[in-house]
């Protein structure tokens, strides 16, 4: 076995521990360096993954799989973590003297996601999932002085633990029927019976919680609003993508559509998620909370591609997950800047941002338009793949609901744009944005436009990644 293919995971884990120790030894001096060390190591992880993108290897009798699909998601997680860490530079003062732990937990959460993407066994999926969520519990409650942050952390912990238990119960039923926990071997062992349906539904419910699909979405707005904004970003893009990565692998490999038609279950979940997420987002006045509901709706679009379970749909899932990293991180980065400067994320705080900081307003507008799916932004190309996949699979009604809801979503996205360009604000003067955060903003802006104008690059990449399913 070629263990060097595990280098990204090993590197990220080692750096996470190193950062923790450094923060312990060098009380003051290490503060600056730990951020740079974690950032560089994540960039190294990204490069390692991309360089060895097509190398495949099955480790430990199928427990751990390195393939193009896993590598695609690992690149996504590393990229998201880099953008989030760059963006969190604005937020660092509020963390007080607990900076190294922040970076360490970010690294551990990233490792958990990578394990989930590579997992070839139910046990590995569970371990990766818990590594990620336990890190997130702590990160969500990271602002110790802030009551909303602690409350969000506790709520996330309780609901997350319940969903893990439900997921595990489903896994135990599937294990009982198949006698194996290796995902690729399950499909050959199971037959159609009531216990299988119960198991699959429980697994679907557990993952639907992680990706915040309706009706398992109730936690998301509270936690997204209460958590520190960079963490909200990472929860929205990273945790969700990791959930999709594992869900896709389990459902496509382990549960044949002929045994149980999970495709219809996911299609109904997707429709509910799109409708409820978008309709509730209409009434929100807090931008962070609006983005939380919008991210629920986005999960619905991605689920539509997964429900289609054909080449277009799956390619759309990967494509959309990647562009969602840029668009959503860009929007949240602007919300972070506004929050740091004004102390609020209400929509009123965004008034006249177009005059105060044209750059921030431009990034916000472009990212929101991309999330709404307006061409030529990236979101349009992503939704095109997802919905054409759904139509090919015979879910015309699902694609119709998706298009209708995308149109509705334009309204609440443009309300923010309206506040930024037409609203008036007694306060004037540009908002301060730290240099690293400025870099993150530029990356998000350029990537969102570039993927929209020239989708072939990312599309080919996603195509290679899903080739393991075809």
């Amino acid at each position: 076995m070629n263990y060097s293919l595990l280098a990204p995971e090993i590197l990220a884990t080692a750096v996470g521990m190193l950062v923790l120790i450094l923060g312990l030894i060098f009380k003051d001096r290490a503060r600056q360096s730990v951020g740079i060390i974690s950032l560089l190591s994540l960039v190294a992880v990204l490069i390692l993954v991309i360089l060895r993108f097509t190398d495949t290897q099955v480790f430990f009798n199928g427990i751990y799989q390195v393939d193009t699909y896993a590598n695609f998601f690992k690149a996504l997680f590393a990229l998201a973590a880099v953008l989030v860490i760059l963006n969190s530079s604005q937020y660092m003062e509020r963390f007080g003297n607990k900076k190294s732990e922040f970076y360490a937990l970010m690294m551990f959460a990233t490792v958990g996601m990578m394990v989930m993407a590579s997992a070839g066994d139910l046990l590995t999926i569970y371990i990766g999932l818990e590594l990620m969520t336990v890190s997130f519990y702590i990160l969500t409650a990271y602002l110790l002085e802030d009551e909303t942050s602690s409350e969000a952390g506790l709520k996330y912990l309780i609901l997350g633990a319940i969903s893990s238990a439900v997921l595990l119960f489903g896994m135990s039923l599937v294990f009982a029927l198949s006698g194996t926990t290796v995902i690729t071997q399950i499909a050959g062992q199971i037959s159609r019976e009531p216990a299988l349906i119960a198991g699959v539904i429980l697994i679907a419910a557990g993952f639907a919680f992680k990706i915040a699909a309706v009706p398992f979405h109730m936690w998301a707005p509270d936690i997204y609003q209460g958590a520190p904004t960079p963490i909200t970003t990472y929860l929205a893009v990273g945790s969700k993508a990791a959930g999709f990565a594992a869900l896709l692998r389990i459902f496509i490999f382990a549960i044949p559509l002929t045994q149980f038609n999970w495709s219809l279950v996911l299609a109904i979940l997707a429709a509910l998620t799109m409708v409820v997420g978008n309709l509730i987002a209409l009434t929100q006045t807090n931008v962070k909370r609006m983005l939380a509901y919008s991210s629920i709706a986005q999960a619905g679009y991605i689920l539509a591609g997964l429900a289609a379970a054909n080449q277009y749909g799956l390619k759309g899932v990967l494509f959309y997950a990647m562009l969602y990293v840029f668009s959503n991180t860009g929007a949240f980065a602007v919300a972070t800047a506004v929050e740091v400067n004004t102390g609020s994320t209400d929509r009123d705080a965004f008034n006249a941002l177009g005059q105060r900081s044209p750059m921030l307003a431009a990034v916000m507008t472009i990212c929101l338009l991309s999330l709404a799916g307006i061409p030529p932004m990236a979101g349009f190309a992503g939704k095109f793949y997802l919905f054409s996949g759904a139509i090919q699979a015979g879910y015309l009604w699902l694609a119709f609901i998706g298009l209708l809801m995308s149109m509705i979503s334009v309204y609440y996205y443009l309300l923010v744009a309206k506040a930024m360009y037409i609203g008036s604000n007694p306060q004037t003067g540009a908002m301060t944005v730290k240099a690293p955060a400025r870099l993150a903003l530029w990356v998000c802006l350029l990537a969102t436009i570039l993927i929209g104008v020239y989708p072939a690059l990312l599309s080919n990449w996603a195509q290679t990644a899903i080739s393991i399913f075809m």
Binding site: V134, L157, I158, A161, L168, F175, T181, I280, R289
Partner: protein, 102 residues
């Protein structure tokens, strides 16, 4: 003769009790305990499967051990969070944590 079905029934009942506790208890510590009951129901399932069904022995037990370890980590974080919140609000009643709602 006690067979696999009995274990499955036991674990399902325990899971139900845990779920009921989570939904009905208002004390955060009691809720955490109920979650533990749910996870232990899953453990019974895994060990029983390992004993009665699985051809390669040990996989179910291994799964149960990992679940126990992860549950311990989860409870450690959970209790730390409850202590933090208790310092702020002088309460562990979930009904008092109502800053965030739609």
């Amino acid at each position: 003769m006690i067979g696999f079905t009995h274990y499955l029934i036991l674990s399902t009942i325990l899971f139900g009790i845990g779920m009921y506790g989570v939904l009905s208890k208002r004390n955060a510590v009691a809720v955490l305990m109920s979650v533990e009951i749910m996870l232990n129901a899953v453990n019974i399932n895994f060990v029983a499967i390992s004993r009665f069904i699985n051809s390669e022995p040990g996989v179910g037990q291994l799964f149960a051990i990992f679940v126990i370890v992860v549950a311990a980590a989860e409870v450690a974080v959970g209790l730390a969070l409850i202590i933090t919140i208790y310092k702020q609000k002088k309460s562990v009643n979930l009904d008092d944590f109502d800053l965030l709602k739609w």
